[in-house]
């Protein structure tokens, strides 16, 4: 090490530095998480190659076997695969937080004069941007393999916003899981059993009417189906109706319940 003197400490506490800057702090954390995303090969594959493979696989492998009355399967499929991808993607919010916790980064953040909400808001915003990228990428691939949405452009954009909003609300659910888990692997293991039934026992890939009666009751009303149905209405050019309203209620409700719990949990951990 060099032996140069080190600048003297600031002996007066600067009130401006001590005050929270919720927006700037959240954007700083978002910047850090986006850098992490770009440099983590596993997360990159998760955000790029995997969604493309899913579109191609469902389009060409299962697409031939699944018949949906009245609509080409690819048009039926795309809303489902959007939602499926972002739902599984929301897992990374929890896994990332659990890793930060495990490595002591959360402890460092909590010792800094930053806004208490910033770690969670910054991370969920970074994940929202990742999802935006993923949905755009999948749309392009979908259009290449024959997806022809018949809804108006504003309706389609609204549908995409519903997908992103739902993903954002789930980020808060998994923030709670991540802050309660010991490390990333535990967070992932704890999340999968919640996600799998939600995604597969839904209208994402097949009509709910093809399921046994006892499963239909769950599959019809659970949030993944509601959001998929709403996006389907919007992209297929059906009038936006109760599905859309229900989807918005789910998104708002999940955020309203889970965000405060996650922030409270963040204050306690480490």
């Amino acid at each position: 090490m060099t032996t140069g003197a080190i600048t003297a400490p600031d002996l007066v506490v600067d009130e401006r530095r001590a005050a929270p800057h919720p927006i700037a702090d959240a954007l700083t954390i978002m910047w850090r998480n986006l850098l992490n995303l770009a440099r983590n090969p596993q997360l990159l594959v998760f955000a790029t190659i995997q969604p493309v493979i899913f579109v191609l696989m469902f389009r060409y492998v299962f697409g031939g076997a699944i018949r949906v009355p009245g609509v080409p399967y690819v048009d039926y499929l795309m809303p489902g695969i959007f939602v499926q991808t972002v739902v599984f993607g929301s897992l990374t919010t929890g896994v990332g937080l659990a890793e930060d916790l495990h490595k002591g980064l959360i402890e460092r953040f909590r010792s800094l004069p930053m806004a208490r909400s910033a770690v969670l808001v910054g991370r969920t915003l970074a994940d929202l941007l990742r999802n935006l990228f993923v949905v755009v990428l999948m749309s392009v691939v979908g259009l290449i393999v024959g997806w022809r949405p018949s809804g108006s452009l504003p309706a389609i954009i609204f549908g995409v916003l519903l997908v992103l909003g739902f993903a954002y609300s789930l980020s808060w659910v998994f923030a709670i899981v991540g802050l309660s888990a010991r490390d990333g692997e535990t967070a992932q293991a704890a999340s999968f059993p919640i996600l799998a039934p939600l995604v597969f026992a839904s209208s994402a890939f097949v009509p709910v009417s093809s399921m046994p009666g006892w499963l239909q009751a769950f599959a019809k009303h659970q949030p993944v189906s509601v959001v998929v149905n709403a996006v389907r209405d919007l992209t297929l050019g059906h009038p936006a109706g109760s599905n859309t309203v229900q989807a918005l209620l789910w998104i708002g409700g999940i955020i309203a319940v889970c965000a405060p719990i996650a922030v409270a949990r963040y204050r306690q951990v480490a």
């Binding site: 600048t7 600031d10 506490v13 850098l35 004069p113």
Partner: protein
């Protein structure tokens, strides 16, 4: 000047384990306090309360006059913390890690740049500043971790076992930086299990065990408390040694081993003078003479009944509780 850190009757309980049972101490501004104790003694719990990460169940703690529970924001703006793990982001470069902390402590952009360059230079990381931290060695990460705690020039620095896991060179290097920081006006609270480290860096030492302060003072005072500074006197012949043994029995308890005498005394310097006068008066010229102080290891053993590295089972349980909380 008011103390930089004030801890009064601090209590913390985790389930049925009382981690802190009324800990009190003060750290004068611009000094180093060594918080010494075995694993699970309550060192980390104390640091976490002082850095606002944990709320105390009882008692009071202040940093620069700011209460850690009421004025926690002001406390966080005044402190730097480097914990037991290197809490740095592996997927960022050293430079980006420092910028991250600089932004989150609301330091202006040009100052962050200037300060990062200075710290990376001081901690010998300039050559690796644009490499991702995941390619760093353990020692480099630890250095970056301490550097990250300093971006906003905090007047009070908490170092929780900063040299655990460092090689001897890394340890002496870090000691030099800590000494520099104190010279330039930083107050440091350092927890350690290494008696040598506390001895070298800390003006005052607080020894805690089972959540209680069991001794406090300068390293020299702690050793003096042990009451047996040893004066070693060697002679070139048995005759002189025998006469001297008789003569020095009024200074302290003498044991003779051939031509070497060991005199156990309670007040080292004064007894040394007495020894010299007595020997001089009797015309006895010693070949060697030394005042040997007991080491902090001796002190710790005498105070707690176990050495610093040894860990009784109850402490292990306490430590697990601390980790789980």
């Amino acid at each position: 000047m008011p103390p930089a850190i004030l801890v009064e009757n601090l209590e913390k309980r985790f389930g049925d384990v009382q981690a802190l049972c009324g800990v009190s101490f003060e750290v004068p501004a611009q000094s180093v306090l060594g918080l010494l104790g075995p694993n699970g003694a309550g060192k980390t719990t104390t640091v976490r309360i002082l850095t606002t990460l944990l709320r105390p169940d009882g008692g009071r703690a202040e940093v620069l006059g700011h209460d850690v529970t009421r004025d926690d924001r002001l406390v966080r703006a005044s402190i730097g913390l480097a914990g037991q793990y290197a809490a740095v982001d592996e997927n960022l470069t050293a430079h980006e890690n420092l910028r991250l902390v600089g932004r989150l402590t609301h330091v202006e952009e040009p100052e962050i740049k200037r300060r990062s360059d200075e710290l990376l230079d001081r901690f010998d990381l300039l050559h690796a500043q644009n490499r991702l931290v995941r390619t760093y060695s353990g020692g480099m990460r630890r250095r970056l971790d301490v550097a990250a705690a300093l971006v906003h020039r905090p007047p009070v620095l908490f170092l929780d076992e900063p040299t655990t896991g460092l090689d001897p060179q890394g340890r002496t290097d870090l000691w030099a930086v800590i000494e520099d920081l104190v010279d330039s006006g930083t107050t440091v609270l350092l927890t350690t299990q290494y008696l040598e480290e506390a001895d070298r860096l800390a003006r005052n030492i607080v020894v805690i065990d089972h959540g209680t302060v069991i001794a406090e003072g300068t390293s020299a005072q702690l050793k003096a408390r042990l009451g047996s500074t040893v004066i070693e006197v060697g002679f070139s012949d048995d005759e002189s040694a025998k006469s001297a043994a008789e003569l020095l029995s009024r200074v302290g308890a003498v044991t003779r081993d051939g031509r070497c005498l060991r005199v156990s005394v309670s007040d080292g310097a004064k007894s040394m003078l007495e020894t010299v006068r007595a020997l001089d008066g009797a015309n006895l010229a010693p070949a060697t003479m030394a005042l040997r102080e007991p080491t902090l290891d001796d002190v710790f053993l005498a105070l707690t009944g176990h050495t610093a590295e040894e860990q009784p089972e109850a402490d292990e349980k306490r430590e697990r509780e601390e980790e789980a909380s």
